[in-house]
């Protein structure tokens, strides 16, 4: 018999912070994403193509690492909802910012997803990530066994546990705070999306007006006609500028703050799920304790075993969770700061460009009169 070689803890063979989703291709109804990562050793890149199903495969593998102690205390980087070509209105609404701008924000979100996994001390060790990023074949599109972490599959009765009182003040505070933040962030994200959609409508309206003005150009040598035509043409140019301006403003909004708020919102939900899992474990533990206490001598030993296992697991989870929460707090502040700074810088640049342009139009017009 061959001695089983003890598997060395796998490490990722690419740079974690340089994973890019460079392209999205439409193939019939499916979207295919091109992912590029840089080899750690030497120069060289991995180019792979993956569909959403592949991303889900990866996520399932991460969720189902039962051998990792305290895995349930991990805040898993959130995977965006599935993107589709010709998506229904409902799907588009769910995707929010990610569904805009020709899937560019969506690619960014997937990119972020992969980068966060690669940077995570526990998750980066999973083989699935390596396969996902480097294997030229798609990692296999079979469904892994059912995701035990999938909230949606949990029975409604389990939802009661959400408000179960905590034994630890730290966690109770975190749960309360998370609840408030999740709500606020979701609202802010939705409202910002409304702003962007209206900006897009204005851009279209400016375009229409600009086109209608072109139709007002009159032929003829009559000086008044010529003057009016010139004015119309100039005004048409102005509104064309305005259209481009609005489009840029909307784009900036989507690509910086929009995407940032969306990520924050999904991360808050991810933390919420983790805290819920822990709460469920707490309930399980408290039940196990009660059972052990009340158990008849025959069953006592078995119940004690169960209780001990539950305690250990719960402790692991709490340990991991505390770390995760601390990291998460730092991460989200960083992400939001980045989003806000980028947003402001981009809008400032656009505003300056447009101010110059409008000024030029004004001078040209005054010169005409």
């Amino acid at each position: 018999m061959m001695e089983e070689v003890k598997e060395v803890t796998p490490t990722l063979s690419v740079h974690a912070d340089n994973i890019k989703v460079t392209e999205v291709l439409k193939e019939g109804d499916t979207l295919t994403f091109i992912i590029v990562s840089q080899k750690l050793s030497g120069t060289g890149e991995y180019h792979v193509d993956r569909t959403y199903d592949d991303f889900e495969w990866l996520q399932q593998h991460l969720f189902s690492q039962e051998d990792v102690p305290g895995i349930q205390g991990v805040i898993f980087p959130p995977l965006p909802a599935k993107a589709q070509v010709n998506a229904s209105a409902k799907v588009m609404k769910q995707l929010g910012f990610l569904g805009l701008e020709e899937w560019q924000p969506y690619c960014k979100a997937l990119e972020n997803f992969l980068q966060q996994i690669a940077a995570h001390s526990i998750l980066c060790k999973n083989k699935a990530l390596e396969i996902f990023l480097t294997s030229s074949d798609p990692p296999g599109r079979q469904r892994v066994r059912k995701n035990i972490f999938n909230r949606l599959s949990q029975a409604v009765v389990e939802m009661r546990k959400e408000s179960h009182k905590d034994v630890d003040e730290f966690f109770q505070t975190e749960r309360d705070h998370n609840l408030v933040l999740t709500g606020c962030t979701k609202t802010a994200t939705e409202r910002f999306l409304d702003v962007v959609l209206t900006e897009q409508k204005i851009a279209v309206a400016c375009g229409h007006f600009s086109a209608a003005l072109q139709l007002c150009v009159e032929q003829g040598e009559d000086p008044d006609k010529q003057a009016f035509s010139k004015a119309c043409v100039k005004l048409s140019e102005v509104f064309n500028s305005m259209m481009k301006n609005m489009t840029s403003v909307a784009e900036n909004n989507v690509n910086t703050l929009g995407v940032g708020l969306d990520l924050e919102s999904r991360y808050q939900e991810a933390e919420k799920e983790m805290l819920f899992r822990r709460t469920c474990k707490l309930v399980e533990l408290e039940t196990a304790r009660r059972n052990a206490e009340k158990a008849k001598p025959v069953k006592k030993a078995a119940m004690e075993e169960v209780k001990k296992a539950a305690e250990t697991e719960f402790d692991h989870i709490c340990g991991v969770a505390k770390q995760e929460i601390a990291q998460f707090h730092g991460l989200r502040v960083k992400m939001l700061q980045q989003a806000l700074v980028q947003w402001c810088e981009k809008q400032l640049l656009t505003a300056k460009e447009k101010a110059d342009q409008f000024d030029q139009h004004l001078q040209a017009f005054r010169g005409m009169a």
């Binding site: 806000l340 402001c344 505003a351």
Partner: protein, 513 residues
């Protein structure tokens, strides 16, 4: 356009009266008598709109629609019909309708004017600087409930010698403006002058104001109306002829103005106008004019095209204004939610930045509102004004057609009479022959006079229209250019403000860590 009591101009006797310095405002009865029995097309309108019938409608205390006005949209089918552009027969009793071609000029010149003198006036004004500014301000609600109305202060600042003082104000209500327009339209439209149309009526808007709703939409309505009234007056006085009209002067200067009661859309007078307009529309379709002047044909086509284009532009701008208002609402909502987020945030620097974000968004919201106002008041209202003005222009062209028709009809009649005269030679009742001959000779003479007058009128109106159109086109270009410059200035200003806001926010965002 309803060319009602202004029947065929009274015979040449009118001019003589003029030169004698007599009162130009003939008694309504006189006009009716000189009204021809012979022009069927005109008759329908003439008879139904005789001043006699007016008095029935004018002060009907039982008129249930006394205060009612009707909401008229730019494109509603009734719009054409309900515009008080058409000279209305139902004008206040003080100034009875006339067909006077040369209205009395007031203070500046002593002698009475004939056609040629109008040219003089216009040439004087030609290179002259038009120094007059009218502002409509201080809308004030007078009275209560459904009898309430808005009174506006009309202030005129001018250095022109036409007026007694440099600066003066009066209080006017909306129906006063409508009454003024009504009078001007009845005097000038049918002889080819483009009389600026009055602002539109609106039942919904006014009812809200009367009922006392002090909300944003009724404030907006009052502001929109105030602005429209100001533009209306400015356009009217910019017209060198209208400026000198005694009704205009009276409107601007005299502290008390008799109420124009018959301007309400749903009043009996209003309904009458509707009937007239319908009759006119039918008449217009049946007049086939031999256009000998290519200029007119080209211009009519030009104005048709312009009408279509301006309406398209107007619709476009309205859509834009609507979206901007929506953006303002959404931005305000987002600002609120950002503020809430900032409040819930633990991290101090992030919390601060989010609160600042909320403030910036609120300021941007204000900018959006300002921009929406610019879109609206500059473009939307301008385009709306011009769509209505073009309707007046088209009306003037229609009047020319009618004038031509009248002339042709007189000629036809003359020919018939001449034929009848010739036939008389062969009659076999010698005793009645001389009497008949004399009668016919009289009629022929009269008709010859009418034909000459008809030709003169036609030439005059054609000449006037040419001048008016030229003036209109120049004004149009000036108006649009001025608005565009104002708009561009507002755009530039908005951008500068925006830059300031972003500049102020950036350090806040960077300070988060």
């Amino acid at each position: 356009m309803a060319d009602t009591a202004r029947d065929p101009p009274p015979a040449h006797t009118d001019f003589q009266e003029l030169e004698d310095g007599e009162d130009l405002f003939l008694e309504p009865a006189v006009i009716q008598e000189s009204g021809p029995a012979s022009l069927p097309a005109e008759d329908i309108s003439a008879n139904s709109n005789g001043p006699k019938q007016d008095s029935l409608f004018d002060d009907d205390p039982e008129d249930l629609f006394a205060e009612a006005t009707e909401e008229v949209s730019l494109d509603s089918p009734e719009r054409e019909v309900l515009l008080s552009d058409g000279p209305s027969p139902a004008i206040t009793p003080i100034t009875p309708p006339t067909s006077v071609i040369t209205p009395r000029i007031g203070l500046a010149h002593d002698d009475m004017f004939t056609h040629s003198s109008f040219d003089e006036i216009e040439e004087e004004e030609g290179g002259d600087s038009f120094d007059m500014h009218i502002s409509v301000s201080d809308p004030e609600k007078v009275g209560d409930g459904m009898n309430a109305y808005m009174a506006y202060k009309v202030t005129t600042k001018t250095s022109m010698s036409l007026f007694k003082t440099d600066e003066f104000s009066v209080k006017r209500r909306f129906s006063d403006f409508l009454g003024l327009h009504s009078k001007l339209a009845s005097k000038y439209l049918h002889i080819g002058y483009i009389v600026p149309p009055a602002p539109e009526k609106s039942i919904v808007g006014m009812t809200k104001v009367k009922v006392g709703k002090e909300d944003q939409s009724s404030n907006e309505f009052v502001e929109k109306r105030r602005s429209a009234l100001e533009r209306y007056l400015m356009r009217t006085v910019k017209h060198p002829i209208l400026l000198k009209d005694p009704d205009v002067l009276q409107f601007l200067e005299s502290s008390e103005l008799p109420r124009a009661v018959s301007t309400q859309a749903l009043s009996s007078a209003g309904l009458l106008r509707m009937v007239n307009k319908a009759a006119d529309a039918v008449n217009k379709m049946t007049i086939k004019m031999n256009e000998s002047d290519a200029w007119f044909e080209e211009k009519q086509q030009h104005f048709e095209n312009l009408d279509v284009q301006l309406r398209k532009l107007h619709a476009s701008v309205e859509s834009l204004v609507c979206h901007r208002k929506e953006l303002s609402v959404n931005t305000a909502q987002f600002a609120k939610s950002a503020a809430m987020l900032g409040n819930s945030e633990d991290h101090t620097a992030l919390s601060r930045a989010l609160s600042q974000l909320a403030e910036v968004e609120e300021k941007i919201d204000q900018l959006h509102q300002d921009q929406a106002n610019a879109d609206f008041y500059l473009f939307s209202e301008l385009l709306g004004d011009y769509v209505r003005l073009i309707t007046a222009v088209k009306g003037v062209f229609d009047h020319r057609m009618k004038t031509w028709q009248k002339w042709q009809d007189s000629q036809l009649l003359l020919q018939k009479k001449r034929e009848a005269e010739a036939k008389l030679q062969f009659t076999n009742k010698p005793d009645k022959l001389q009497q008949a001959k004399d009668e016919i000779k009289e009629e022929i003479e009269e008709l010859e006079g009418k034909v000459q007058q008809g030709e003169r009128d036609f030439e005059q109106i054609s000449k006037t229209i040419r001048k008016e159109v030229s003036r209109f086109e120049k004004e149009r270009v000036k108006d649009f250019k001025m608005i565009i410059i104002k708009y561009l200035e507002s755009l530039v200003q908005t951008q500068q403000q925006l830059i300031k806001y972003w500049d102020a926010f950036l350090p806040e965002a960077k300070a988060i860590s």
